[in-house]
Symmetry: C2
Subunit: 437 residues, 2 copies
């Protein structure tokens, strides 16, 4: 049986988890791959933590377990890239620095398969990495880059091949889902829920990337590339986070039988692919509304097989590591090559503001008669049908109410709001959220 040799570069939470799994269930991995699966080398600046936490042999580490300087690291990387024995390199350094970017490109250029969980890198600088891999006929495994343990990448690449995916959407960020769940279930403010998420280890000290929708945008960019063959940049995609959701917004969601979720959405209609990230009110009848806490979920709508939902852990050391190991086994077994989805020249990317959703618009207005009539009339003038108007809340000199529309575009609503603003009845900007059925 031929041996399949692996190197890991970056042995932190995820890389260490990979090394641990490769050790712990090596026999069954070898059986599944039909080849001896062997972890040959690990490169890590500060190996001591990983050695202890993951029970790893220090001789696996380049430098024998000592801390490495940058120069030593670079020397060992060169050794790995020039080692004809090594079939596959796992990149678990993270980040989108030039260092990591060139590392990944060079792994591929040296004719080695690459497996990575680096969603930011693939979303922002992935094109050149995939091209390098294609030119050398090697594989890039990135199951772990989208929703950790959920096997959505292989499901799209290997299971939905007898079908056409029309839409791929979901809850792709665990931190924001945890925060929204606590806000909804325990009536917490955003700030208090964020603090809890940080205490529970679900949010970083600097949570910006998670709560701003940026991390979620990375993932939907990768999914849109895989499903529709289009390259969308972070500049082109519109993403919105959860920072501005208030307890009042939560109440409006409850009133219409929905829960707030940070939704990554994409859908193909004709030659257009609509995509983006935005908090939505997800109706209870949609299975995504029942996915709470730090759990992730992906929903696809397929031409022949209808709706699918995959639910699982979106992050975590061993969870993400198990996805990386699955990629290793798949490449060892099948010598998997990227699907060369030829991007149809005709396909045009459009932001979610061009897509027709039903919306909830919530207003804070002066407290005087006639305002509901005025607001609904202006909305009607933009050809937007109103589905329902909630009862008015009167707080001090303020009236608060929300309107649920039939499907329309955001610009129709914005046009109406421009007109309403001229009438001097609003006490602030209305909030606008799409509804997902």
């Amino acid at each position: 049986m031929k041996t399949f040799n692996i190197a890991i570069i970056g042995c932190g939470t995820v890389g260490g988890g990979v090394a641990q799994i490769l050790n712990e269930i090596n026999l069954s991995l070898t059986e599944k791959a039909g080849r001896n699966i062997r972890l040959k080398k690990i490169i890590e600046l500060n190996p001591s933590v990983a050695i202890e936490r993951f029970g790893l042999d220090k001789d696996l580490f380049c430098g024998g377990g000592k801390n490495l300087t940058r120069e030593e690291t670079n020397k060992y990387i060169d050794e790995v890239l020039n080692d004809n024995d090594i079939d596959l390199v796992v990149e678990t350094v993270g980040g989108i620095s030039d260092f990591v970017y060139y590392l990944c490109v060079n792994i591929c250029r040296s004719g080695k398969n690459l497996v990575t969980a680096n969603k930011a890198l693939l979303a922002e600088r992935g094109k050149e990495i995939f091209e390098a891999a294609e030119s050398k006929n090697v594989s890039v495994g990135f199951e772990a880059a989208v929703c950790g343990a959920i096997p959505i990448i292989k499901t799209i690449k290997e299971s939905f091949t007898g079908d056409e995916i029309i839409s791929v959407s979901g809850i792709l960020n665990g931190t924001s889902n945890y925060i929204l769940s606590r806000m909804f279930d325990d009536s917490l403010t955003f700030e208090d829920a964020l603090k809890l998420a940080q205490e529970a280890g679900y949010a970083e000290a600097d949570p910006t990337l998670d709560i701003s929708g940026g991390d979620a945008a990375h993932k939907i960019i990768i999914l849109m590339k895989l499903v529709f063959g289009i390259d969308v940049t972070m500049e082109e995609i519109n993403y919105q986070g959860i920072q501005n959701i208030t307890s009042t917004d939560m109440e409006y969601a409850k009133e219409i039988g929905a829960r707030f979720k940070l939704i990554c959405f994409s859908k193909k209609e004709g030659d257009n692919v609509f995509g983006g990230v935005c908090p939505m009110m997800v109706k209870n009848e949609n299975l995504l509304s029942g996915v709470n806490g730090a759990t992730n979920a992906v929903r696809t709508i397929n031409r022949y097989s209808g709706k699918h939902v995959l639910i699982g852990a979106g992050a975590g050391s061993s969870e993400t590591a198990s996805s990386i190991v699955a990629d290793i086994i798949f490449i060892a077994r099948y010598n998997d090559l990227m699907i060369k989805t030829l991007p149809s020249k005709k396909i045009i990317f459009k932001g979610l503001n061009h897509f027709s959703f039903p919306y909830v618009i919530s207003f804070e207005t002066k407290d005087r008669p006639g305002i509901t009539g005025l607001v609904t009339t202006e909305i009607g003038k933009q050809d937007v049908n109103i589905y329902t108007v909630t009862h008015n809340r009167h707080v001090q000199d303020k009236a608060m109410f929300s309107i649920e529309t039939q499907p329309c575009t955001l610009s129709q609503i914005e046009n109406a709001i421009v007109e309403i603003k001229k009438r001097d009845v609003l006490l602030g900007d209305p909030k606008i959220y799409p509804i997902l059925y």
Copy 2:
């Protein structure tokens, strides 16, 4: 590009759907497979329905679209099996007759890959078919045999390979899930809900296999084979259907915040694999409880990546067909070979009555004081802890109540019931259902 030639034997609802997809999206299938995907021949006794329903060219049919006699059918089958051009045969005849069994064995023995949706055949006579395939180094694709469109087979075989699956369970029969959902949501009797299921096309005229748990048992047998490498027969597995669930049972489920689901369950503990099919009260916090209507769902619990749930359509013409086509593409692309899971000699199969569940036991007793005490005392004597006792309902001369236990085995409960019966207070056999958290 080399051509990959396919024959379909049996062109009814599913086989016709396969032919339709192979025609409609042929270009994209060829792109994904890296080989020209070509439907070369169809064998069907009465082709006219399929020709019209699926828009198929009559020249694809052996006999040019005419009805075939049995003799002609056999002659054409021989032709297909001897046609060196044909790489793969789709068996969509169905049933477990000797005819279909030998057909599948002979497809493999003739060195052709086999794809089938025939769960009954694989569960009851699969061993010899897989052996025939292994001896000729060909593949058996059976994604469509378990839960139609849900890609659970490939997820287990290709995505959870960096992990160890500890438990695989789920709602694997859409008909019974539809019936239970209508009973629960619309307070219907079993008989009325069954009638609705038949009218809606979710249940056959003879619904026995679905409502008895037999169909579900076929599927969990296939999953246990794949995940744990054990061969369990229909005689060994204990399966129970939904025929005896009453409105009162539904009420007890509601009281503990649960819904009734026909659950296929299997779990490995040490050297034992526990498995079976049985209606359970699934707690609302379990995602399976939110899977209603004819939808199916599979849940796995994995050593490294925790809980996963896959939800989708469990049946339907194009849904099942799309899974078959995905198998075709996978085999064409990777020349996939069966995982040769060597059954560990040590693994022992055990029925669910040996597994510790929390249970709900519901009693109908004489209406007199002291009975709750008597019943709970006898249960306690069997070392079963009681979690809660519902309030007593008094109907005419009858008292009705239910007891929720801490985890225990069925035999502990049955022992208690033997003792209780001696005391002449019961008005019928108590009903016993496991609870799934």
